[in-house]
Point group: C2
Chain length 466, copies 2
Amino acid sequence: MNELTISLDAQSSVPLYEQIYKYIKNDIQDGGLPFGKRLPSTRKLAKFLQISRTTVDMAYEQLVSEGYIEAVPYKGYYVCELEGLYRIRPGQPSGVSAKRPEQVSYAYDFSPNGVDLSSFPHNAWRKLSKAVLMEENRQLFGLGDPQGESELRGTIAAYLHQARGVSAKPEQIVIGAGNDFLLLFLCSMLGTGQKIAMESPTYRKAYDLFANLSNEVCIVGMDEAGMRIDELEKSGACLAYVMPSHQFPLGTVMPVGRRMQLLSWAEAAPERYIIEDDYDSEFRYKGKPIPSLQGYDRGERVIYIGTFSRSIAPAIRVSYMVLPKSLMQLYRERGRKISSTVSRVDQMIIAGFLNEGYYERHLNRMRAVYKGRHDALLEEMKAFRQIGHISGENAGVHILFTFTNGMTEMEAVQTAAREGVAVYGLSRYYVGSGKQAESSTILLGYANLSEEEIRNAARLLARAWL
Amino acid sequence: MNELTISLDAQSSVPLYEQIYKYIKNDIQDGGLPFGKRLPSTRKLAKFLQISRTTVDMAYEQLVSEGYIEAVPYKGYYVCELEGLYRIRPGQPSGVSAKRPEQVSYAYDFSPNGVDLSSFPHNAWRKLSKAVLMEENRQLFGLGDPQGESELRGTIAAYLHQARGVSAKPEQIVIGAGNDFLLLFLCSMLGTGQKIAMESPTYRKAYDLFANLSNEVCIVGMDEAGMRIDELEKSGACLAYVMPSHQFPLGTVMPVGRRMQLLSWAEAAPERYIIEDDYDSEFRYKGKPIPSLQGYDRGERVIYIGTFSRSIAPAIRVSYMVLPKSLMQLYRERGRKISSTVSRVDQMIIAGFLNEGYYERHLNRMRAVYKGRHDALLEEMKAFRQIGHISGENAGVHILFTFTNGMTEMEAVQTAAREGVAVYGLSRYYVGSGKQAESSTILLGYANLSEEEIRNAARLLARAWL
């Protein structure tokens, strides 16, 4: 074959070389130019098409780069063998239907995962963001420390010491894009196939994540002090996932005696660790904050996790993990290989937010806002005291209400829904073997409802339940 | 016991209730107040200390919350049992020494992972960032779609179609904080314990990550077209990790014939998938960009991963994954449970960067900058043609140089280091069973060196090697 009848369009915005490339590529894909076929030489084709030889060279080079043709020295260009069985021609993509569950719209939503978005500190954030981007610091756009910026880690260490009694040096802190990521990261560092003890009900995402990563999750019973140590002992687990300051969703505070037993359990074998998820300890409405479990840990057994997503805004994907010194060697060997998941710009904004006192003021303000909503909800719930009782009410941003009049969780959720109010059954937080057949408890989150909305919603709940 | 001899300091900034709380807590921790001991009633202690009863109530309530004492109705407050064996008293924290390897400082660093930081589009970024934060859109600070903002996914789908020939609907795209995260995420979604085929040398972090997560990684041989399909077939792997447009670190482009074979391999069994890591396809200096493998995929077998970290700046932790339709059900069941790792603010900035044409201009500028450096380096390397040859030079931001005069990789690295120039041995990218005893190839990355720096560095390399 010495020529190719290509009709070129000199007026087209597509360069000539690309028109030639596309024509030959299509011909090869269609089988018009079969395997082994020799193409005209660039000189001949250029002459035939009356264009410059460089243009044909460029087209052929691209075809060689992509593997459609090959250049055989002193012989010419030949069509390569493509996998015969594979249909190279574009098919009609079939539609992907998202099949999301239908969204019911509620007038009032007592979601336990709410955050008051109207309180986001816009001005401070904008000011800090501007200042960070103004710095013209080219290093700011480099990859940065996989562990997180040392300035931010120092700031967090000081904050955790003062606010949570956590004892950590900056080098023990790892910054990550959210708690889900940090748990994924931790599993990848410790290796999967671990036996992890959890309570039930618990933080569902953590359960799913551990289970997805082929860890064996064993459900350990709880009493009023939290995870039962005798059952934990028997389970054979080497990791215990707990939320001692405020168990989610039950709101249990683990008393100091149980904390000591848990630490003793962990110290009894070298491979045992406790994961302390301190997800919302910032919000407590009675007395001082409950200190962290990590602060009591003398045996370097506690992996502490906290987040700014709850205390500032969910869109702020910044969490932190404090590794015990006993895991630092493993971290250096395996953990440091994973690049940081938080942009350095965001890290510097958060560091400024903490250092310049914005965070403390923001927390004080949010505590007052949430306390007002908390008190309004408890006041309204007095109307329901004949049909159930409240628990988990001293901290966090939700309370639990357990029906004692025989109403099931499902009835409560459905009758509330009919009035346009979303409440959440406790059973969705039961996991694995800890699943319960029936529950008569619901969660009422109040973070994203104003006091007035809470009062209006309570009137609707009275219509539904009383 | 009816009284506690607490010396209160009314002038202190510590509230009186907290002074009482701390005193009793310390006494319990020291054993001064043993298990079962009854505390004085709040009335008696208030009278004895001549303070208000509310103050004592507050102190006792905090001690109850933390589990140091318990209230027995009609009887009073008793000290709880703490775990006897556990030392509750703060110990002296032993220092953590970071033990980082000593940093040698180089005059010129040919790092293959460099990015030209001075080209970061500061002004555009600042402008977009300001505009996004100005919107006062409170929803912007909510949690957002775990998959990423639909606006950004739409923008990426259009970009990938046009620039990479990737065929994807926005609902197939998942946004994540960097490629490392996306690979972690993918493993958690697919389940660990998979058999994954990789080349060697390869992208080391991906290898470490797969291996850490208890996947079985089998090294499959390569020829000049990339991963060998016969070996892949024999390996029994169900996942193949490849970089068809520009293999790292070798720079191989997988020709279309091999691509077809790879796709046929994947279609031969329902559990087989190809992970296409298209990490730096933006930079090609000869002809058009090589289209993605994903664009040829008719069997929904290719998981495509790309990133803005290389093309904009490493500090921008935004990558994207295109899932084949065959994995969408699994994603909805398992993947959507993991919250997004990229802040919505950052997602909106990137979307604006692409939509308003900044990205295209930035890429054109970077291609020109890198092409200049690439050409300067190739020009300088002509001086070394007696002692070796260049490969992998048409794309990316590094070239390879293989010594043919008997010089080993280690000698080359060490002699260059003595002249203050960092070059990188190929052997660091060999993984698992694919390790090689000796290499005489080095990588020279040029992204973060100016043309003048490249010329100066080459003079030093000539002193070292010639």
